[in-house]
């Protein structure tokens, strides 16, 4: 028995030695490759910032500018002449925040329902919910717009907040996180006389904070980046969310490119900063939610 283990370690050791110089060589290449990828990923963001600080004339120079210029203030002025830009950012904040709050409540509630109860029709209802995720959203876009018109929701934020307030993905994600809550705690609370909603609110919710964090970032991003919905229902400049506002800037020959890039940067940077601050937790939450169960 002992000799066998020894043999194994010997094989593994020689294998290690044989590979050590290979690995060193490989490592340099791997790091170069990975860094090259990071460069490609970041370059468009960097270039966006460079162009946001350049005047229209400088942008059309050849070779193109690669370093920051001094026209940021002018670009911002032009941008604010074309659009109520800070109002647009504020609209996006309002829409995304309200959407996130509703999603957190309804999806955690639904996730708790699926994770911690046995009830008649559970399997079928769960399957129906998952199946609804696979339906292409384009299938319903025309009637969706007609409905919004019929409800008188055109030019309001309601169509961007209410229809997605309890969505299948969010419920699925929250269920993944809530399945880990021990049944004993819930039963104990029941014996102590807590009501079902109170158990959800006082026990399940605080125990699934990582899930809630992941879901809130995802929802916030989704609402912030949503485009076709707001494009269809928002009609006044002062109601535009940031994506719609940006899309109205380009598309003709007089596009003020520097100002457009300034707007793009202002629309993207808050999200990028939030993501960088929360990315570690967010990605581990995402992978945990995606692979469990």
């Amino acid at each position: 028995m002992k000799s066998k283990t020894n043999l194994k370690t010997v094989i593994v050791d020689t294998e290690k030695n044989k590979r050590s110089w290979m690995e060193k060589f490989n490592k340099t290449i791997l790091y170069l490759f990975l860094s090259f990828g990071v460069g490609i990923t970041f370059f468009p963001f960097y270039y966006m910032l460079v162009l946001a600080t350049r005047s229209r004339e400088e942008i059309f120079n050849f070779p193109p500018p690669l370093w920051f210029g001094g026209s940021s203030w002018d670009n911002l002025q032009i941008l604010l002449e074309k659009l109520p830009f800070f109002q647009n950012i504020f609209n996006s904040i309002i829409v995304s925040s309200l959407a996130t709050l509703l999603v957190l409540f309804f999806c955690s509630l639904g996730g708790y329902g699926f994770a911690k109860y046995n009830f008649k029709g559970k399997e079928k209802l769960f399957f129906l919910m998952l199946a609804s995720m696979m339906i292409p959203s384009l299938l319903s876009i025309i009637p969706w717009f007609i409905m919004m018109r019929y409800f008188g929701w055109i030019n309001s934020f309601k169509p961007l907040i209410i229809p997605g307030a309890a969505n299948a993905f969010g419920i699925f994600l929250m269920r993944q996180f809530m399945e880990d809550i021990p049944n004993e705690i819930i039963d104990a609370a029941r014996i102590d006389g807590a009501g079902e909603f109170k158990i959800y609110y006082k026990i399940a919710l605080p125990l699934s904070k990582p899930g809630l964090a992941t879901l809130s970032i995802l929802t916030y991003l989704g609402a912030w980046n949503n485009f076709m919905g707001p494009l269809l229902v928002l009609q006044e400049k002062s109601k535009y969310t940031i994506s719609v506002a940006l899309s109205k800037l380009n598309g003709n020959f007089e596009t003020p490119w520097g100002a457009t890039m300034m707007g793009t940067a202002l629309g993207v940077l808050p999200i990028v900063i939030v993501f960088i601050l929360a990315s570690k937790r967010f990605i581990s939450g995402l992978t945990a939610g995606a692979t469990k169960g």
Binding site: E15, L30, Y31, F33, L34, G37, V38, T41, F42, P44, F45, Y47, M48, I59, N61, F62, P63, P64, F106, L109, G110, G113, Y117, F119, K122, S132, I135, P136, L138, L139, S140, I142, P143, F145, I146, M147, P163, G164, A165, A166, E196, Y200, W224, N225, F227, I242, S243, L246, S247, L249, N250, W257, M261, T264, G267, I271, F275, I283, L286, A290
Partner: protein, 303 residues
């Protein structure tokens, strides 16, 4: 009011079903109803049977849009998933440090809005001022690369968004840049689920890196690949923002080479107010998505 334990779950999950019925299921059914009518949204609806379907299926622009979507789908999905798998494999292999930094960096394009990144790529693709052409022009100066450009008959500057032949690759390049990181995260999660003991056994048996990759990782990742590619099919066949922002006139550009089905559907429905035709188009597109997904699951499902 106190919820009984029996009623509680139904109450808890009901918001989803209520909202899904109103804003999900009902529009789908209503869309089906509309697809058999001619309606501009104002005048009375007129029942026309299968006319809308026949109109769409015999419309050359529709078929061109399907072709465009398919080409973009292939041009982006294949590199996207290969690079993503490779990146996930490297990051999972314990050979490199700073994993979190790399993961977050690659994920960044996914979280930024398609509209914003499309606008930035529009600048990169500029014909006379874009950085991509500037780099190519610089590279052309090296005789070897210049000769290569000659062989493949590459004329600079490239009219990325102006010339029909380049529009689809331009859109595909952007989509690949945008979504590779997302796929990498999916594959990374999948790799984390492969038990360590499998690698150890392979090591003892003297398997090399390539064997580990093709004999263990790929077969084990099959369900994850199936999931990732299915998402790519659903996403790519509904590609809208990128061609909408990138093509100069928002109609798909020169020769309609960037007119995806989603963009065509948008124009049919909301620019020309042909709600019935648009609904029929949506249903036909949905059938294509289902067919592609089935082919995909045939390929990647565990045999």
């Amino acid at each position: 009011m106190r919820l009984s334990k029996k009623a509680a779950p139904y109450v808890f999950i009901s918001p989803f079903y209520i909202l899904f019925f109103i804003f999900g299921a009902f529009p789908i059914i209503y869309s089906f109803f509309l697809s058999f009518h001619i309606w501009d949204g104002i005048s009375p609806k007129e029942f026309v049977g299968f006319e809308n379907y026949i109109f769409v299926l015999t419309d050359p622009w529709f078929w061109q849009s399907v072709w465009n979507s398919l080409v973009i789908f292939i041009l982006t999905t294949i590199p996207q998933h290969i690079i993503a798998l490779f990146l996930a494999f490297i990051l999972n292999s314990n050979l490199v440090k700073l994993k979190n930094l790399f993961r977050s960096s690659y994920f960044l394009p996914y979280i930024t809005s398609s509209v914003a990144v499309s606008m930035v790529f529009g600048m990169l693709y500029g014909e006379h001022f874009g950085i991509l052409n500037a780099i190519l022009k610089y590279m052309e100066k090296f005789s070897l690369i210049g000769a290569m450009f000659n062989i493949i008959n590459l004329k600079l500057p490239i009219r990325w968004l102006g010339e029909a032949a380049w529009i689809k690759p331009s859109i595909a390049l952007l989509v690949t840049w945008q979504f590779t990181g997302w796929n990498m995260i999916i594959y990374y999660a999948g790799l984390q689920n492969i038990p360590e003991s499998l690698y150890e056994a392979a090591k003892v048996d003297g398997a090399n890196m390539r064997q580990v990759f093709f004999k263990i990782i790929l077969p084990m990742l099959r369900p994850v690949i199936l999931f990732g590619v299915t998402l790519s099919i659903i996403g790519n066949l509904q590609l809208f923002e990128q061609p909408f922002i990138l093509t100069p006139d928002r109609t798909g550009g020169s020769g309609r080479a960037g007119l995806t089905t989603a963009l065509y559907l948008y124009r049919t429905g909301f620019n020309w107010n042909m709600f019935g035709v648009g609904s029929a188009m949506a249903y036909i597109l949905c059938v294509f998505i289902i067919i592609l997904s089935l082919i995909n699951s045939k390929i990647f499902q565990k045999r």
